[in-house]
Amino acid sequence: MAEADEMDLTFEDATVGAWKILAVAGELDMHTSPALQERLDSLSVGDTPKVAVDLTEVPFMDSSSLGILVSNFKRLQERGGVLAIVGVAGSPQKVLSITGIDRVIPIFDAATDLPQS
């Protein structure tokens, strides 16, 4: 079920195989990104968690949100899990590309492309 946060940032959880998918809708900046961290905390439970952040409906993302994605990627990796990004395009894709994070965090076009093995 979707939940609204400040400035119409919404989150929706789903499960696809072993992956927990967090679909985000709205703009991610230093004001809204703490809500993203809270949602990632709630999903990153259990052994070897696999979490995918779906950015299909995110038209804007800044460096503070990028920092949250990277820190959670490292945190999950340390626990034997993984964080992936799904559906990124436009300005957020450019942010990932300029910073080189698109070569660090695995990125997939759609949740159905996530590896299930």
């Binding site: 900046d29 804007f60 800044d62 460096s63 503070s64 920092g67 300005s91 942010v95 300029i98």
Partner: protein
Amino acid sequence: MALAGAAFAQRSSLEIPLDSAHILTVRLFAGGVARSLGFDDETGEALKLVMTEICSGTIERRRDGRIAIEIAADADRLRAAVVATGSPTDDAFRDEADTTYRRTLIEALAPDAAFVEEEERSIVTFTLPAA
């Protein structure tokens, strides 16, 4: 303000409190100004990102002040200035990784960005070419 020489009729300005809740307003302003001055969407998106990063960095470094933004067209470039007032905050609260990403994004999109940091105010000026 900080954009000396820019034709007055071509300047747009916005002033906000030093508060992250107003960063969305900055993006709406920047995108709208870029569009009204005839710049394409790619330039508008770049302006929104650079403005967001500059304002976010300023909000982390200062408190109890305001941010004044000015944007003007200069031939085929956008010229912008961000002037912030307020008391400096403790550097210890800054996330080093975020600061590195922020600097990387600003340098990539606005390589001529110039930063002046004083006790009572900071000034950032930059230009963006039309994409």
